[in-house]
Symmetry: D2
Subunit: 396 residues, 4 copies
């Protein structure tokens, strides 16, 4: 029997029934006026989730990786220099993509578990008096390490250096679950996907372009057609796509935006913080450490948990899947075998989260780790209970 | 946001996705040959779940209550005497129905929390030398108290008394989740519904009639049309119903039977025992008691848990629903306010069950009960862990 | 490959996707407050569809047949006399039920294809000066013959005779698709099901009781428990059912009522008339006749079409199903083999209806009937086209 | 009320209920072993639909347009010459993409309505003695004009010229509905999408690469990351994707392949021919002409129908959508306003097709075209009827 346990991978996330059903559409003529009633609410909803008034939103039938490619190929030319920190597997992959597209990538190697070194960025940008750097890339939330970076800080560093580069942000595992301020932070391109904070199946790359980013598309020489935002913009103006749009997923996105916005973004973020904090209390009760080096970089969408030296963290994931039919995330790249990850973004409740912690405990005990059964659960229960009390007090 | 937490009411149960989708059929012509491919596998599947070779199965668009009415109205006449123990709300309701249908009901009052007093039945039946008693009614699993009765024992009592009455068994919350042996126990009529062990939405009364029960329909004088099994049997012979059948639910029932039988009934029962035993370990860790008076009557599909005197057990249900969006069952009738109930039948996993126990704990602590957070969860975790080990050992 | 052709049986009807999805609910605790938000809109929605301010609505997990049993068993006592016309298979079955429940049934035999003989009713009622007749039964729309009867006329006959009997109306294939005026016509009990005008799966009996009918329940002696409206009313007052309610179907009913009422009942009726009239134009083009004897009794929800003498009308249904995977209705009872039936109620469009007519034509031609291919389709096309023009003119 | 009429756009097509439900999956961990059970059957199923033993299949979360980009960017380098005929909007768009990616595109302008001029290809290839042409591009089925080209002929031309270029075929609107022989025709790259013959929602680019095409990826210099087939192949070898895979769509693809293969590809093609031929009979009865210049290029998946000079063909589409809620395709590019298109691929039945023809007739009559209502329908009915007879004869 399929188990119907919730998943605790850091995306795709658990989907609300209503969102999943919204995707489950019969065939609709995408050239009919009805498509406009899906397209424009999606564009507008994403814009509002990005907290922007000026952003131009683009939705591609693709994934976050396609979103990265859209970002660079529409605004940069071969040989252009980009500045980027490598502090996890996802920043690593974006770097690899830039290199393969003929960009000149200036990498700031950063210990995994740390955030983007803002002051290093500032030094480099100040030194780049010729403005050879055309874009600064930043991974807002490193899904591999559970590390949040300071995007506002990156923008401040750029401003301090008086540097005109574009600021491109990978918000794949933050947008829709953690605070993201496109306008306030001066983001030029934001990239995300459908299967994280938007609680949809994978299949959409979702981007926001600032006016400056749009301007850059005029001169960018990297090849692009499928991911061309100008074609896309022309399509949207006619309530259309340059090719067949993924209507069902977009219908789901329309609903997901409605749900996030009617819950209130700050409430959504608080809910994710609450889930995450319960997990962190459990990790503490287990006497384990997060991969994330310090509280200021703790992610509210995913926690990477270090297991003791000599222990293969991946075994926790294997045992949880095999014996309890529950999915956690393995460590990737540099932290493979050293961490396992608990995703806590998207549609989750106290009860679901506690079931994840209970299974993680059992798997660790099964593997001989000196964890007391129920200890992490109890720490999270205690936090969630008081959270309830506080919420009620706040509501009065 | 709707929570998608599992439910822990003793029915309707959590539905497997595949079963729910099997019910979600487009309109089909129920007079087409395709209906036969749904009808007969249902009848045969239920027969096998009942562990019977001879039973005649009937499916009505109704509920278990309609099943009770089908049982009595097809086999009894006004003024007929029936023998029945009252040991919970559901046996009470069946008694009420018998009285309203003009039957002469001989009630054996039994403390709630106890099973059917088999020896009292035997005494009464021995004393009924004139065989005025036409039917012995037995609730296999009292959903209100979490008490299982000894149906084989009831049959032995009847045999010991040499009594020819029909044996009618309410198996609503046992069939498909706890061992039920129609033929071996000499059951004449078994009654259940779709929303318990069959993991479907409510909407079907499901019955089995023995040849003796079928014979009794010839002379029974209670009025019936909608619930007439002879009309139904005539319909089935033509791959039809006497009225419009609930095709989607039956398509789901067909799949549910397939799932139960391919898992293996004994495995299904063991799985329910495992879920139940985890709950009982938690109850013990909480230092609480079950309503069920002794281990031999513990139900594997529902546990009714007594709270301390002076405490309103219903508050646990209220707080769990209001603050944690989780559904437990309240106490009914005599035990209202004295117990709350955890349903553990149907589609459940260790992880789901642990989430239920974790929430029950939080609710009880919120209400001031001297429960240690995580204690019940840990007891269940410990049991489920070793269960896994034993299962693996057994499989090797 | 399953064909996904529309069905043209006179129920169950084609379901709107949204209604079907509304039924496809995960398990919900039916004792939670959320159930009230389904229950009461259903009761209120049905009341409005019945065009009543006073009716008490009841919903049972059952079918229209169960609705008939609810009507009689809650208001009548064994030996009570009822007056009823037999003019088709469904009135016949209700008569049979009355007889089996010990009522004294005064049958007015009426040619199949004719409506209820209102003047005969009046004569009989006038002659019943002792008011032995306790209920007048009337089938509003005989699904077997496609004949609509004059319910307002039956009430006038009762008034003319000054007769106090209850007026019970089978509106199974009329309510929600043809005009039905509970209050204006002085109906005491209306009976319908979920799978016709409400466009849902089978599984609900839906009834309305007038205050007089409710009063009659106090003294009625026929046995009932499952179908007891007093138990049901008590349940509703507590946002509950006396047993497990069919929550998903009711959630669908809530939406179906919303859809019918927001379209506007008169528009719904006009839409059904439009569908029906297209079919009648086709029948005329085929040079065939309806079973319904005259235009005043033509049904807008189903047409029974007579085939020439010597031809087995059932073959049309068989060939359409076998060779074109399309479902029509066979003739039943007296008109078996003489008519085939096209259901045209529920969710249908011009295009769907035309596909049904096209297939009916092919099947008839395949069977050697002297029908010109395309002739019936063309007649319906012509009507639907002008209907469009008229609708547009009316809207301007 | 939403109409649930079938669509007659040439993709996305009507989806079988079972395929649509297969896509409607809850979240699954795409790194779990269960994903392998979806991935490999997809790859194998597509391979078999392509009638190939050697092809390497790739599936991207994208569309056919992304498939084109995958084809060229993985095998070609900037400045490479490609040969391609422009005979419709989709060949035009692929040409545009090639140009934007810096390829040297040798265009063979071909009248819209005609197929690829195989002999011209041969002349050009013979003349290219230096083998500057690296790829020959061919649109198997021009969706804009309903024109099928001779891919086997293109390969013969290449062989006659002894030319080593790669043969890349756009089979977006042919694969899965019209005969396509990857191996026999010597295709090097085949491109399609999910929303045509595979009867799925849009969202997948599906490609096949021959060993020669795979070899070409080693030296190709066009930039690619998202669409990189080497990354994809490496992922597949680990039962994974280089990024989050569209699991639900792939689960649908797995089922769609099963359905096509168990029906039998030749039967699938015959079914599409049957649908198409009915449409062509209707067009003939209307005294209209296809855009496709001659029977040898008639497409079995879409028909572009020319309306009389002075008449705006797009109006047919507009009226059908507005007044009858039915979707047809407009003319694109050179044939905009001159043709309207009826898609007849994917899940369709006689009945559905006839409903499309009936509505097209009504719309044309509404617009004043001298069409006789029912005439096209009758021609198609006549053809479908005899088709049935022939099928039955063949089956005996």
């Amino acid at each position: 029997m399929t188990s119907q346990n919730p998943v605790f991978i850091p995306g795709p996330t658990n989907m609300p029934e209503a969102v999943r059903l919204a995707c489950h559409m019969p065939t609709m003529d995408h050239r009919s006026p009805a498509f406009a009633d899906i397209l424009h609410p999606c564009l507008d909803g994403v814009r509002r989730v990005l907290k922007s008034t000026e952003v131009e939103v683009f939705i591609f039938p693709s994934t976050g990786t396609g979103g990265w490619e859209t970002a660079i190929s529409n605004t940069l030319s071969p040989g252009d220099r980009v500045l980027v920190a490598r502090n996890g597997m996802f920043s690593h992959r974006w770097i690899d993509m830039c290199q393969r597209h003929g960009l000149d990538v200036q990498i700031v190697e950063t210990p995994w578990g740390h955030g983007i070194p803002v002051s290093t960025y500032e030094e480099i940008l100040r030194a780049d008096t010729g403005h050879a750097i055309k874009a600064v890339l930043a991974t807002h939330n490193e899904t591999a390490t559970g590390v949040k970076s300071d995007i506002a800080g990156v923008r401040r560093a750029m401003e301090a250096a008086g540097h005109p580069a574009l600021l491109m942000v990978d918000g794949v595992s933050s947008i829709g679950s953690m605070d993201f301020r496109f306008d306030e932070w001066g983001v030029d391109i934001a990239v995300t996907g459908s299967q994280k904070g938007f609680m949809l199946p994978a299949g959409l790359a979702i981007l926001g372009f600032s006016p400056r980013a749009m301007a850059a598309t005029k001169t960018a020489k990297l090849h692009r057609t499928f991911f061309d935002v100008a074609d896309m913009a022309k399509g949207y103006a006619n309530n259309a796509f340059p090719y067949t749009p993924p209507v069902g997923l977009m219908n789901g996105l329309k609903l997901a935006c409605d749900m996030l916005l009617s819950e209130g973004l700050e409430n959504v973020f608080a809910r994710h913080h609450r889930m995450a904090e319960g997990v962190r209390r459990a990790v503490d009760a287990w006497d384990l450490k997060l991969c994330a080096a310090s509280p200021d970089v703790w992610s509210d969408s995913v926690s990477a948990i270090c297991t003791p030296a000599g222990f293969n963290a991946t075994d926790v994931v294997t045992v949880a899947a095999r014996d309890y039919d529950m999915a956690f995330g393995v460590g990737l790249g540099e932290v493979a075998g050293k961490v396992f990850r608990i995703g806590h973004l998207g549609m989750l409740t106290d009860a679901m989260m506690l079931s994840g912690l209970a299974v993680a405990e059992m798997a660790m005990v099964d593997l001989g780790l000196p964890i007391k059964l129920g200890s992490g659960v109890a720490a999270a229960q205690d936090y969630y209970r008081h959270g309830n009390t506080q919420q009620k007090a706040a509501a009065e």
